[in-house]
Subunit: 368 residues, 2 copies
């Protein structure tokens, strides 16, 4: 009696998780975190209108969500001045990246990303048998020219670029991205991950025509909109590409309350502005805290700050481990030389007080 | 300037949806349905405790859900007397079927199901390039012996069987399924979809050891637990197979409020019993209504009743279209001879009053 016959690809894959969740770490520690600043969630929460919409929808949760996401897609289309046919809604950017990779990548196909960029994208590429090529950051910025040159060199079907970048918080003016696309090789699709664009300076969103077949843009309600746990992301692109998602997506995959919450969140501009201000304030405060200890905060267009600990990855790892041990959930970049940093999400005053209180001991551990 | 280079498989797939949602039909009609009885949702709703848990979690939705689904998996393990390693939680059975097919099926691999059985399973099989072989129902029951014989004949990697069955509502005693598995060919995995088992007679759940490597069982909070819009399903099976899902699943794909709601729902036995009684009552009432018009309700172990309209598929289609036109959302089986029936989900008294009021005109349309 033998077990199931997995595909050769499935047999070759490790059972893995792109990120260990904070709950897992809490169970391992045997204690809850004092400050949850590691996953770039928005501690400032979603719009009260979104909360109310989700609470109301809880009583109607016996109904499946609309598989067309009609109302949300139309509202997003209005919001961006595009057509509903330019927008597909999915289970977070993570879910949409999985569908996109599935549409384009089969075993042996090549894909390009930056060394140390979003691991969940890499997870999906490997999961469909794609071959990843990585280019280094330029300084602490992703390097569009190098990414597109590598894509040309290896004949990549997909190239991934986050603007603003995670985990470094750096960004390019959107016009520079568009200009760099002049060297994007024919037949290579740019996945432009703009998860953090709502807290970036004016002009960071790339001024790309939504029907441009060379690019697909990913957006989310998980970051500035404060709804990470709801799993609502969307992609914008040319109608042909957008409709291709209907070949593979889980049509009834969206949570009905999350659909309602996102729709309400999108309409609350005032809350968005308030969160943008809170993020700005928190970035400044994180900068002050770490400067007092001789560390350098990197400029950030996101809801987190990468902090240069001034030495190598091993040093930063000790700082991070001590912070975690003291109840401060934070993370750090994966690849050198960016892993000289730790990454701290914007928190409220109590969160950042806790971080400030824990930092001296963490630095002493690393220095001692 | 060319567009994205899709895989040959993706190019070959149609943009499709396994089911057209009721919201789409409402938009087409320009009016809301009076009774929503087409998707086997539970109009009786979820446990008030589940609603309360989801409402409370709405304020915490800024946090990603636990990617391990630790608390829910452990509660489910306790509930079923198995280990957490026997359980994987996912975005509804639909999501889990997609992951399962991806793990086992590559282009050209064979899969067996019944002609007229769950189309979303077929959608996933086709979506990964699998070749579907279908066997007819035996009477209005799925036919385990014929399914397993066909699986042996074509060397299937997967065979799908729903018990109780959708769309017919028929069922086999679980012991008969286990006995039939003696002819399940070596290396063929049985996907036993038990979505409706909580409203089936005692003994319908198959008495299969959870570590049996020949089978994976699918369960859901979408039916009797009344949480279709939350997207919470789970699969039970041998630990090796269950852990394989960690190679491909969207680890951060679960809605945090849905996790909390399912956990609360699982603990409310009293609510479950109440819904089971409401389902029983509604099945009886549907039977009375249709008998009054000379139609035959089929025996049901589910939260819906298949109604034999006494003639062919074209006749039943006219009945169905008229009901829909009159504001009663119902569906019907896809394949003959089961498509002589329409399928009506259990409703509350007002829903069934509306159905009873619309039925005479629908029958007159078909007869005229």
């Amino acid at each position: 009696m033998t077990g199931p016959r997995y595909t050769p690809l499935a047999q070759s894959l490790p059972a893995t998780v792109p990120f260990v969740g904070p709950e897992t770490q809490e169970r391992q520690r045997g204690a809850a975190f004092k400050a949850r600043l590691g996953a770039n969630e928005s501690v400032f929460g979603p719009s009260p209108r979104a909360i109310e919409a989700m609470q109301q929808a809880a009583g109607e949760i016996w109904m499946y969500g609309d598989p067309e996401n009609h109302d949300l897609r139309n509202a997003l289309a209005d919001h961006h001045g595009v057509a509903p046919e330019n927008i597909v809604v999915g289970e977070g950017i993570d879910g949409l990246l999985g569908y996109l990779v599935r549409l384009l990548v089969e075993p042996g196909d090549t894909v390009v990303t930056s060394d140390g960029a979003y691991p969940t994208f890499n997870y999906h590429v490997s999961g469909f048998g794609g071959v990843l090529h990585k280019v280094p950051y330029s300084g602490d910025h992703e390097d569009p020219a190098a990414l597109f040159a590598k894509a040309a060199e290896v004949g990549a079907k997909l190239v991934y670029l986050a603007n603003p970048d995670n985990p470094m918080g750096s960004w390019h003016p959107g016009a520079d991205i568009l200009a760099a696309m002049g060297t994007l090789p024919d037949g290579c699709l740019l996945v432009l991950d703009e998860a953090y664009v709502e807290c970036a300076p004016e002009g960071t969103a790339a001024p790309i025509a939504v029907d441009d077949p060379r690019v697909i843009r990913m957006r989310t309600f998980s970051k500035v909109y404060g709804m990470a746990g709801a799993r609502v992301g969307y992609a914008m692109g040319a109608p042909e590409l957008i409709s291709a998602f209907n070949k593979v997506r889980n049509h009834f995959g969206m949570n009905r309350a999350a659909q309602a919450g996102a729709l309400a969140a999108l309409k609350d501009d005032l809350w968005l502005e308030q969160v943008q201000a809170q993020i700005k304030h928190a970035r400044e405060r994180i900068g002050q805290i770490v400067r007092e200890h001789g560390l350098e905060p990197l400029p950030s267009a996101t809801n987190f700050v990468a902090i240069d600990c001034g030495q190598d990855g091993a040093f930063a790892r000790v700082v991070l481990d001590s912070l975690v041990e003291q109840g401060i959930f934070v993370r750090m970049p994966f690849a050198p030389p960016q892993n000289r940093c730790i990454r701290v999400s914007c928190g409220n005053d109590a969160d950042l007080d806790a971080f400030a209180a824990a930092l001296p001991k963490a630095l002493a551990s690393a220095q001692g």
